[in-house]
C-alpha cells in the first residue's frame, strides 16, 4: 500500500512556518517512513499529480495567485490545515488592511524614503499576480479542516497534529501547544 501524501504551500507568509516544519529535526526521518511529501516548497514539486491526504497551508491570501493555490489545495487534499497565524488570522501581512492599497503601493514603489524610481511606475507586468484589497485568512477563502495557530506554531504542534491525523484521530492539542505567538 502506498504511503499517504502530504503537500505544503507557502502563501502570504514569511516561510517561518515551513522552518517550523523542518524544526521537527530528526523526527522527519520517522515522518518519511509513514508519509510521502508531494507538492511542497521543500521538494519543489510544482503541480498536483495525485490526491493528497493532508495539505498544510502557511500564510494567508494577499493576491489572486494565493487564492488559486489555496483553491487548488482544497481540490486535491482530503484534509486541509491552516498552519500559523498568517493562515488563521492574516498575520503581519494583514497590517496593510487598514491602509488603502494604492497608498501601500505608492509608499513601497514611489514615495518611500529609500526608493529610487525616476519613472514613478508601480510594477504592473501582467505576470505579476494582482493584489487583493485586503489580506484574508485561509478559512475565509476555502473550507479549512484544522487550524494550528502560532507565529510560528512549534514543531511539536505540527508533530502532534500529524500524528493524530495519521492515526485517524481528531486533532486535539494540549493547552501548552495552543499559542498565538
Amino acid at each position: 500500500m502506498s504511503k499517504p501524501k502530504v503537500a505544503t504551500a507557502a502563501l502570504s507568509g514569511c516561510f517561518g512556518c515551513h522552518m517550523s516544519i523542518l524544526d521537527i529535526d530528526e523526527r522527519i526521518l520517522d515522518l518519511i517512513e509513514v508519509v510521502d511529501f508531494h507538492k511542497s516548497p521543500i521538494n519543489d514539486i510544482k503541480t498536483f499529480t495525485e490526491r493528497c491526504a493532508i495539505g498544510i497551508i502557511e500564510g494567508g491570501c494577499c493576491n489572486e495567485e494565493n487564492v488559486a493555490v489555496l483553491q487548488d489545495f482544497r481540490k486535491n487534499c482530503d484534509i486541509l490545515i491552516s498552519f500559523g497565524d498568517c493562515a488563521t488570522m492574516g498575520g503581519v501581512p494583514a497590517l496593510r488592511n487598514g491602509i488603502p492599497l494604492k497608498e501601500c503601493l505608492d509608499e513601497a514603489y514611489i514615495d518611500g524614503p529609500t526608493v529610487h524610481n525616476p519613472n514613478k511606475v508601480v510594477p504592473n507586468d501582467r505576470e505579476l499576480p494582482l493584489l487583493l484589497n485586503k489580506v484574508r485568512p485561509c478559512q475565509e477563502i476555502v473550507k479549512i479542516d484544522y487550524s494550528l495557530p502560532g507565529c510560528p506554531p512549534s514543531a511539536d504542534t505540527l508533530w502532534e497534529a500529524l500524528n493524530a491525523l495519521l492515526a485517524d484521530k481528531p486533532v486535539d492539542l494540549p493547552y501548552e501547544l495552543i499559542k498565538f505567538d
Partner: protein, 239 residues
C-alpha cells in the same frame, strides 16, 4: 463550610454552593473555587457586564451575566453546559474578529486575558470573518500608550480611573461598531493619567501599556504560559 443563618444556598452545575446576600454569582462561585470566565470584571470595581463572557444560564431558562446577577436562595446556575460554553466561545471569537489582535508582536502576549481565554477555550481560529477595523494609537503620553486596535471595550480603565484613582481619564464615545475609548483631553498626554495609577494596570489586553519594560517576562515565565486563566481560582477547591 461554617453555617451562617444569613447564607444563601444555591447550585452551580448541580453542586451546592453557599454565598452571602448581595453577592453576585461570580463572587460566590469564586469563593467556592468555581471559575466563571470573565474579561470585563475586575475585583474591587463596579461590574460592567459588558463582555458577557461570564454568561451563565439560570433555572434552565434565562441567561445573564454572572458578574452582575445577585444570587438568591434555590437558584440553579448552569456554568458549564455545552450550550453555555459554545456561547462564551463565540463571544470571545467575536472579540478577536472585531479588533486587530496581532499576538505575534504584542508585548502583552502571554499575559493577556483575552488571549488566555482563547487558549483556555481551545480557540484555534475564529469562525467569523475578520473585520480589520481602523483604530487609533495614542502614544503622546511619556509613560503609557493606548492602542485602540487591541481594545475590547471592557470599561476596566474607565471605572478604575474613576473609582480607585479618583480621576476622569477615560470614557466611551459612539455606538455599535463605532464605539471607542476616548480620553479627557485632545490626547492621552493632556489627561491626569500617571504611570502609577491603578487604571494604567487595569487593561486585560494590550490596549493600555507602559512604554518601558516591554517583553520583560521571557516566554515560559509569563502568566498564562503553563497554567490556564482561572486555574488559580479552581485550585482553591482543595483547601
Amino acid at each position: 463550610m461554617e453555617q451562617n443563618l444569613e447564607a444563601i444556598t444555591f447550585t452551580i452545575d448541580g453542586v451546592e454552593v453557599q454565598g452571602m446576600p448581595g453577592q453576585t454569582i461570580l463572587e460566590a462561585a469564586e469563593e467556592a473555587g468555581i471559575y466563571v470566565p470573565r474579561l470585563c470584571q475586575l475585583k474591587g470595581i463596579t461590574p460592567h457586564g459588558s463582555c458577557r463572557v461570564c454568561t451563565v444560564k439560570v433555572g434552565g431558562s434565562w441567561t445573564c451575566a454572572a458578574c452582575t446577577q445577585p444570587i438568591y436562595e434555590g437558584m440553579e446556575v448552569d456554568n458549564s453546559s455545552e450550550e453555555i460554553q459554545t456561547l462564551r466561545k463565540d463571544l470571545v471569537e467575536m472579540l478577536f474578529t472585531e479588533g486587530n489582535h496581532y499576538c505575534m508582536f504584542c508585548d502583552k502576549s502571554g499575559n493577556c486575558e483575552l488571549q488566555a481565554m482563547a487558549y483556555r477555550m481551545g480557540i484555534m481560529a475564529p469562525k467569523y470573518p475578520y473585520i480589520y477595523p481602523e483604530a487609533e494609537l495614542d502614544a503622546s503620553h511619556p509613560d503609557l500608550f493606548i492602542d485602540r486596535n487591541r481594545c475590547i471595550l471592557c470599561a476596566r480603565c474607565v471605572n478604575t480611573a474613576q473609582e480607585q484613582d479618583g480621576k476622569s481619564v477615560f470614557d466611551f464615545a459612539g455606538r455599535g461598531p463605532h464605539k471607542k475609548i476616548i480620553v479627557n483631553g485632545e490626547k492621552l498626554s493632556d489627561t491626569q493619567l500617571a504611570a502609577a495609577d491603578k487604571a494604567a494596570d487595569a487593561c486585560p489586553v494590550g490596549a493600555i501599556l507602559p512604554k518601558k519594560g516591554a517583553y520583560a517576562k521571557p516566554v515560559g515565565a509569563r502568566d498564562y504560559d503553563d497554567a490556564p486563566i482561572g486555574s488559580d481560582i479552581e485550585a482553591k477547591v482543595c483547601k
